[in-house]
């Protein structure tokens, strides 16, 4: 069971030595998101550049990790090279349970390894090893070699690694976790690459004490039954999030061809049903999650005669939107081919797809040409996007190196900012309306999961600024609480505050159970305060013109309403930061 204080392994990569710190504050920040922010306050250098060796790269789990179903995520936090501010990215795989069973609440990496290295962390091991032979290797090849380099522990370890994009410092570089999961957004891969760290192997080779009494096992059984026997989670393991493709297309909220339209009859060939029927190979799960939402598809390639090789690629709604509909690619196997290319080079699929969509429209408009893109880009040309993905991730031209820093950076040089689909970062696949556009633009992680704005847009047609912004403000603390436990946000219907309280009571954290609402609010303010310390201000983020020209089920976007929401949301965030500053003096 996790203790009242945090056990944090702080590793200085410059010398390869770590120290185990015992840090108080469980009652204030719980774990996960809250702990990550607390640790950045302690170890971070807000005033220094994102790639200064002193900047920490933080991985944190929570008090319920491994103890209940779907408590299976890890929070990664760092100063992002995308916007130069503090951020978080979340991933599952086996990383969370591996950290828990290694006996740690968090891993903090500071310093820069003298040579390209990999780090082994286990309950009784800590070792930094030079791995110059992995330089430039893609995530797939690196994973295979790492499994050989670190024999033993199969199934009970988590292997995090970066591809060429992370080594080069792309702001779209991801950290791949156990092949099929990713700390995708905001350039976590670059934060790792800046430390000369190719991989982290976390071996969960220890065990936690069982909570005392019978309440824990009983509650586990109850919650396990809830997530496996009822309809509550069925959508996640049936078609998975890919079911959203048809649903969003039906309400004119699915971005197509760089958001030139929001619905298209071609959806029939790229829907969740189509993926399941034609290309779904099997399901997978994160460690400790019986839902198994990971959908692994396949494609095969013909070499000559009847010689084939096959590939396995995980898919979800967001990657399909980003390199499918956004690029006008409507063959499920082609979509999988592009996802694989993007992931191998170590880029975030959502960011890369949206960036390439902009590059395609910029090509159509004559702003850029073959000299920049190397491969001629045309909506629907899957083979070209496969090549471009590698070129973007490996920085194959000055244009791609700039685009890898963010679509708006490229647009600032080449023009075309008005049709860059960027909402704080490259958009998530929800052209649902004004509230989502404002919410992603200013949201803490610039993620569609920061708040339920995309859901609000789908249920509300009235244009009430106060009510809409109240929704965003009221929705965030509950999510901050869940990401401090650290729950998968797919489980938010299961883990309401009452259930979380029961869970915490059952594992001996009754002091946390009694004050959940206050804690959620406190953590939310702390996260914003930490972000503000690195330079956040609402006016840093604007909404490109393309979003004002979108038509959804509610009709055309109301520009005045959108602007009013963004302004008001920005004011409310600034107020949160001020309140946080008083609280965390």
């Amino acid at each position: 069971m996790s203790g009242k204080e945090f056990r944090v392994m702080v590793v200085d990569l410059a010398c390869g030595k770590g120290r185990l710190e015992v840090i108080p504050g469980r009652d204030l920040v719980i774990g996960g998101s809250g702990l990550a922010a607390l640790l950045y306050r302690q170890y971070g250098k807000p005033e220094l550049s994102w790639d200064d060796p002193q900047q920490p790269l933080i991985f944190a789990i929570g008090p319920l990790t491994g103890l209940f179903p779907l408590m299976s995520k890890t929070v990664c936090s760092f100063k992002s090279n995308y916007h130069g501010e503090y951020t978080e990215s979340h991933a599952g795989g086996r990383s969370a349970l591996a950290l828990a069973f290694a006996g740690l609440d968090a891993l903090v990496l500071v310093g820069r390894a003298p040579r390209l290295s990999s780090l082994l962390v286990a309950s009784r091991s800590l070792e930094l090893r030079e791995v110059s032979f992995l330089k430039g290797l893609d995530c797939d090849a690196a994973g295979k070699l790492l499994r050989t380099t670190y024999p033993g522990g199969s199934g009970h370890r988590s292997i995090l690694r970066i591809g060429p994009a992370g080594e080069l410092g792309s702001a779209m570089a991801a950290i791949t976790v156990d092949t099929y999961r990713h700390f995708g957004r905001m350039g976590g891969g670059a934060a790792m690459g800046a430390k000369n760290l190719k991989a982290i192997v976390i071996h969960g080779d220890g065990a936690l004490d069982l909570p005392e009494g019978k309440a824990y096992a009983r509650l586990f059984q109850e919650l396990y039954g809830k997530v496996t026997s009822t309809e509550m989670m069925r959508k996640y393991h049936n078609l998975g999030t890919a079911a959203n493709l048809q649903a969003l297309n039906d309400i004119s909220s699915l971005p197509w061809n760089n958001l030139q339209r929001t619905s298209d009859a071609a959806i029939a060939t790229v829907s969740g049903e189509r993926f399941a029927d034609a290309a779904l190979l099997r399901n997978g799960a994160c460690g400790g999650c019986p839902v198994g939402c990971i959908h692994i598809g396949f494609f095969r390639e013909k070499m000559a005669d009847n010689r084939y090789h096959f590939h396995q690629v995980a898919y979800d709604y967001e990657p399909i939107f980003a390199v499918g509909t956004m690029l006008g690619v409507t063959d499920v196997f082609d979509v999988l081919r592009i996802i694989e290319a993007v992931e191998k080079v170590g880029l975030d699929v959502m960011s890369a797809g949206v960036a390439l969509a902009w590059a395609t429209e910029a090509t159509e408009r004559g702003l850029i040409g073959d000299r920049e893109t190397l491969t001629p880009l045309r909506f629907g040309d899957a083979a070209a996007y496969r090549q471009a993905a590698w070129q973007l991730g490996s920085g194959a031209s000055p244009f791609y190196r700039l685009l890898g820093q963010g679509t708006l950076r490229a647009a600032a040089q080449y023009g075309g900012g008005e049709f860059a689909c960027v909402l704080g970062q490259e958009m998530a696949g929800y052209a649902t309306g004004e509230l989502f556009f404002a919410a992603q633009t200013l949201g803490f992680r610039h993620s569609h999961l920061d708040t339920g704005a995309y859901g609000y847009d789908q249920k509300n047609s009235q244009r009430d600024v106060g009510k809409a912004v109240d929704f965003l403000i009221d929705d965030e603390p509950g999510r901050a609480l869940l990401t401090s436990m650290v729950a998968c946000l797919f489980a938010r219907a299961v883990y309401d505050n009452e259930t979380l309280s029961r869970c915490l009571e059952a594992v001996g954290h009754s002091e946390l159970a009694a004050t959940l609402s206050e804690s959620g609010e406190r953590i939310r303010r702390l996260r914003w305060l930490v972000r503000a310390s690195t330079g956040f201000a609402p006016e840093n983020f604007s909404i490109p013109k393309r979003f004002y020209k979108v038509a959804t089920w509610k009709g055309a976007i109301d520009a005045a309403y959108l602007d009013a929401i963004k302004d008001e949301y920005g004011r409310r965030i600034v107020a949160l930061i001020a309140a946080g500053a008083n609280e965390w003096r």
Partner: protein, 139 residues
């Protein structure tokens, strides 16, 4: 006698719910390792999963090397475990031909006692308790 079998392990999604259940309910731990059934990826995630567990050898070689009688042959195959008699010598671990016995850093051993408590926690219906006489597994 009934024994644990894994007739549908090709349906495994790697959630470790079985191992966590065994650790929680039998061994009073929170762990995916300190358990009588342990899931590992078979050559990387892309090739699926395998389960390390007791296959009910009869006679069991682990019991043969146990110097204190902590492991004794179980009717139908496998062993009866008397934890209080175990001196943590670890001799049983390499004696098992199928990597069915785990040990932790203090030398405690974890071996399937064929109680079946993991079975209802598999969301994919991979596991089943079967009559020892009816299984086609190791005898």
């Amino acid at each position: 006698m009934k024994q644990l079998s894994t007739p549908r392990l090709d349906q495994c999604i790697g959630c470790h719910s079985c191992a966590l259940a065994c650790a929680r309910l039998v061994h009073k731990k929170v762990s995916w390792h300190c358990a009588g059934i342990r899931i590992r990826s078979a050559g990387g995630l892309s090739t699926g999963f395998a389960a390390s567990r007791c296959l009910c050898c009869d006679p069991p070689p682990c019991a043969a090397v146990c110097p204190t009688g902590a492991l004794t042959p179980r009717r139908g195959g496998g062993v009866v475990v008397r934890k209080g008699s175990c001196i943590r010598c670890g001799a049983c671990v390499p004696a098992c031909p199928v990597d069915g016995i785990a040990t932790d850093h203090v030398g405690d051993i974890y071996i399937c006692i064929h109680c079946g408590r993991c079975v209802p926690f598999c969301p994919q219906n991979c596991l089943e308790m079967v009559d020892s006489d009816a299984t086609g597994e190791v005898r």
